[in-house]
Structure formats: structure tokens, C-alpha cells
């Protein structure tokens, strides 16, 4: 099934963010959305996730889909342990042993086994974001929406996080829509990229990312940004 947004219009306080906007996502890959800050990337995720409704136009292929999110800040519950935070998003119907198993599996994948019983206050920023990645993959969602989750992390931590993310994703291959303003992040993990303009948003260009020609692609995207 294709994931399609057609003729979307959305404005806030009279400011048009989207006007007759169209975009299409391929399932099972990581699609990056690259654009200047404030151009409406977060709004797009909220429209996709059904948190916001468009003023007109339609989103098809998204109904009855489950989403998980990786936000800019980890948004962990301070009173729950790493395991508790991951279990929090698992369906209530699951038996407690199943929840624990599922959570522990993801904790293992982000290499936080020793920290499963730690509270977020006892973890570093990078570890917290890893928990938030684990939480997104633990949830039985169809689509993962990411809203600049690596913002504010330093260079080496960012590289580290991208590595964790790709590693888990390889084993899972869920549809990911990754919003960012960083070309290097895009080229590091994306399969496809849409470059957005300032609001009202237009798709400036659409590229398939091929690992053999990233520097050439980088120049091309830079021209469009």
C-alpha cells in the first residue's frame, strides 16, 4: 500500500504552511525529510500521525496504522526505569512476562542491559536517547516518525546514535519517516530524501540515496537547500 498525502492545505493563525501539497512515501525504507527549520516538518509528522487534521486534502494509507515516535528530547518518564519506560508503550493486553521479554530484547539491542533497572536521571543524554529509540522499536507500530532526534548531541554521540539506529533498523526494516535539517544524518541512514522549501512548503527535489555517490548527492542537495 502506498502512503500518500494529496492536496494538503494547512495554516496556522492565517499563515499557510502547506498549500496543495503532495508527497508519497515508500514502505519498508527510511525516508528523510530535509528542510530549513520552521518550514513545517514537524507539522507534517503531526498530520501523518493524525495528531493534526489538514484543513483540506487527504492522507491515504495512514488510517489504522500504528505509529511510534522518536522526539527531539527523549521524553522518558523519570519515575520509571529503563525497562518500565519501554514497557509503558507496549499494549495492555500483553502478559507481564511478555512485556518484560520484549522490553529486554530491545534493551539488549541498544546495549543497555546493565542499565535496565536504572532511572533516566541516572543516565547520560545519549543513553536516554538510546532508550527512546528502543521504545520506538519495541512498540508494535507500522511506521516510526522521527523529529530531529539527534539535535543537540555532539558529533561523536551523533555518529554513535546513527550506528545504533541503523543496526536495529536493519533487523526490523520498518517504515521510517525521519525529519532533520542535517544533510550528513540524511546521507548516513536514509534510503530516499525529500528536500523541502520554506513555507508554504514545496518539495524542491527528491533523491534516492546510493551509498556510492554520496558526495555528489550532497553537493546537489546543498544547491537546493
Amino acid at each position: 500500500m502506498t502512503l500518500l498525502l494529496q492536496n494538503i492545505c494547512k495554516s496556522f493563525n492565517g499563515k499557510e504552511i502547506f498549500k496543495d501539497f503532495n508527497i508519497q512515501f515508500t514502505e519498508g525504507i527510511i525516508t528523510c525529510i530535509l528542510g530549513p527549520s520552521g518550514c513545517g516538518k514537524t507539522t507534517l509528522l503531526n498530520l501523518i500521525g493524525g495528531i493534526l487534521q489538514p484543513d483540506s486534502g487527504q492522507c491515504s494509507g495512514f488510517t489504522d496504522r500504528k505509529f511510534s515516535y522518536i522526539f527531539q528530547e527523549p521524553r522518558l518518564l523519570p519515575w520509571k526505569t529503563v525497562r518500565g519506560n519501554i514497557e509503558f508503550v507496549l499494549p495492555e493486553e500483553l502478559a507481564s512476562t511478555e512485556r518484560k521479554e520484549k522490553a529486554d530484547e530491545l534493551i539488549r539491542r541498544v546495549n543497555l542491559c546493565e542499565f535496565a533497572d536504572y532511572y533516566p536521571g541516572q543516565l547520560s543524554g545519549g543513553m536516554k536517547q538510546r532508550v527512546s529509540i528502543a521504545r520506538a522499536f519495541a512498540s508494535s507500530s507500522d511506521i516510526i516518525l522521527m523529529d530531529e532526534p539527534l539535535n543537540g548531541l555532539d558529533f561523536s554521540l551523533k555518529q554513535n546514535m546513527l550506528k545504533w539506529f541503523s543496526q536495529i533498523w536493519q533487523a526490523d526494516r520498518r517504515t521510517v519517516i525521519f525529519v532533520t535539517h542535517d544533510i550528513d544524518e540524511t546521507l548516513a541512514i536514509g534510503n530516499e530524501v525529500y528536500v523541502f522549501s520554506h513555507a508554504p512548503v514545496k518539495v524542491v527535489s527528491h533523491h534516492v540515496i546510493d551509498s556510492s555517490s554520496t558526495s555528489q548527492l550532497k553537493n546537489e542537495i546543498m544547491k537546493n537547500l
Binding site: 500521525g49 505509529f67 511510534s68 521524553r75 518518564l77 520509571k80 509503558f88 536521571g121
Partner: protein
């Protein structure tokens, strides 16, 4: 207030207590009258005798019962209305004049009115209730305001049910506030209940005993009862802190 003293600090605390007792002893020697200030050792002896009397448990028990009654009503009302006010700005606007009036009315004014309205047995409960309620309410309301809306948003994104959002986000987030409200309320509530007993003169009660001791100039008995109140208040404070350490494990 969380206090865990180092060894050195404990030493200073001990020195402070010893100095206070020495000053007390010197003053009692200077006045040389049990009607003004009995000596520390005589007071301790009186306190021991007091604890051994057969009425002691009954007197203390009834005062504690009054305290707990007022405290439970204030606690339940404060928590429930605080949560409601935190959720509904309209309700907060509606209830704040009442809270401001209760909080700004002097305890003695409430007591004088209550002397007219209530029988001596219920008067201390009423006064305790009115002093404790605004404290619990205000703390819970502040707790509700402090809830991180991005966490609630996260839970909604992940389609977590409202029931679990209340149970696993709202309640844990406001628990430290509820406990600090209760801790303040217990400290102030005790004093209010004793004042109520002194002025209302119910048949049993620590306040009644204090008033009797004062009437007959038994200063040692008055001070001994005061110590009983201080110790009770301290024990309740410890109890609240213990409950906090069991409930709020994630903060340490």
C-alpha cells in the same frame, strides 16, 4: 526538608542540645521556683510519671485520633480538589477565593467561631481540618501545574489509554508534591489541634491537660506535655518521610 547529617554535624547538634539544657538548668537555678521554671530533671521525672498514668494513652490517643480525622478529611479533599483545579482552570478560578479566605484567616478567629458552632470534641478536628486543607490543596495544585505536558503528549502519540496516563504519569508526578503538602500540613495541623483543645476543653486531650496544668500552675506538667507534643509531631514527620522514601524511589 530532607536532612541527613554527617558525623560532624551530629556532633554540633548534640552540642546545641546540651547548651539549651544547661541554659534551662541555669535559669531554673536563678528563679529557684517550680511555679516559674522547674529544673530539667524534675520535668523529665514528671514526664515519666505522666507517661505511666493510666489516662496517658487515652489522652494522647484521642488527640491523635482528632489529628488523623482532620488530616484524612483535609488530605482527601485537598488531593481531589487540587487535581480537579489543576485540570480545570475554571474550577481553580471558582475555588481560589475560598482557599485565600481560609488561608488568610487567623487560627484564633476560626477557633472563636468554632467555639460557637461546634461541641468541644469536634472543635479541634474542625480547626485542624481548616488549617491543613489549603496546604494540601496548594501543593497538589502546584504539582499538577508542574506536570511535563510533553510526557502526556508522548503517551498520547503512543496511544496509551487515559486510565494509564492518570495512573502512570499524573499520580507519580504529583506524589512528591502530595507528600510535601502532607508534611507541611501535619506540622501545622498538630499545633492547630492543640490550640483547639486548649480553648475548647474537651473531656480528654493533650490541650485540655495543658490548660489544666496552667490553671494550677503545674509548670513542670505543662512543659512535660509540650515535650509529648513535640515528640508526637516528630514521629509523624518521620512516618511521612518513610512513606516518601518508599513511594518516591526514583528521585534519590
Amino acid at each position: 526538608m530532607k536532612t541527613s547529617f554527617t558525623k560532624k554535624q551530629r556532633y554540633f547538634t548534640l552540642v546545641s542540645v546540651v547548651i539549651l539544657i544547661v541554659i534551662w538548668k541555669l535559669l531554673s537555678l536563678y528563679y529557684h521556683s517550680d511555679f516559674i521554671l522547674p529544673s530539667p530533671e524534675k520535668t523529665v521525672w514528671t514526664a515519666i510519671n505522666l507517661i505511666c498514668t493510666k489516662d496517658f494513652l487515652e489522652v494522647v490517643g484521642i488527640t491523635i485520633l482528632r489529628g488523623l480525622t482532620g488530616f484524612f478529611i483535609a488530605g482527601i479533599a485537598g488531593v481531589a480538589l487540587g487535581i480537579w483545579a489543576g485540570n480545570k482552570p475554571g474550577f481553580y478560578a471558582f475555588i481560589s477565593p475560598l482557599i485565600v479566605v481560609i488561608r488568610s484567616t487567623p487560627v484564633i478567629a476560626i477557633t472563636l467561631l468554632a467555639l460557637i458552632w461546634f461541641t468541644p470534641d469536634y472543635l479541634p478536628v474542625f480547626i485542624g481540618l481548616l488549617t491543613m486543607f489549603p496546604l494540601v490543596f496548594t501543593n497538589v495544585y502546584d504539582g499538577m501545574k508542574s506536570i511535563d505536558s510533553s510526557l502526556v503528549e508522548m503517551a498520547k502519540f503512543y496511544k496509551v489509554s487515559d486510565k494509564r496516563i492518570i495512573k502512570e504519569i499524573y499520580i507519580p508526578a504529583i506524589t512528591p508534591f502530595i507528600i510535601s503538602g502532607i508534611s507541611n500540613a501535619v506540622g501545622i495541623g498538630w499545633r492547630a489541634i492543640i490550640i483547639g483543645e486548649v480553648l475548647g476543653q474537651p473531656k480528654y486531650g493533650i490541650g485540655t491537660q495543658m490548660q489544666n496544668a496552667q490553671t494550677f500552675l503545674k509548670v513542670d506538667v505543662l512543659i512535660a506535655w509540650t515535650f509529648v507534643v513535640i515528640i508526637l509531631s516528630y514521629l509523624f514527620e518521620l512516618l511521612v518521610r518513610w512513606v516518601e522514601s518508599k513511594l518516591v524511589t526514583w528521585k534519590s
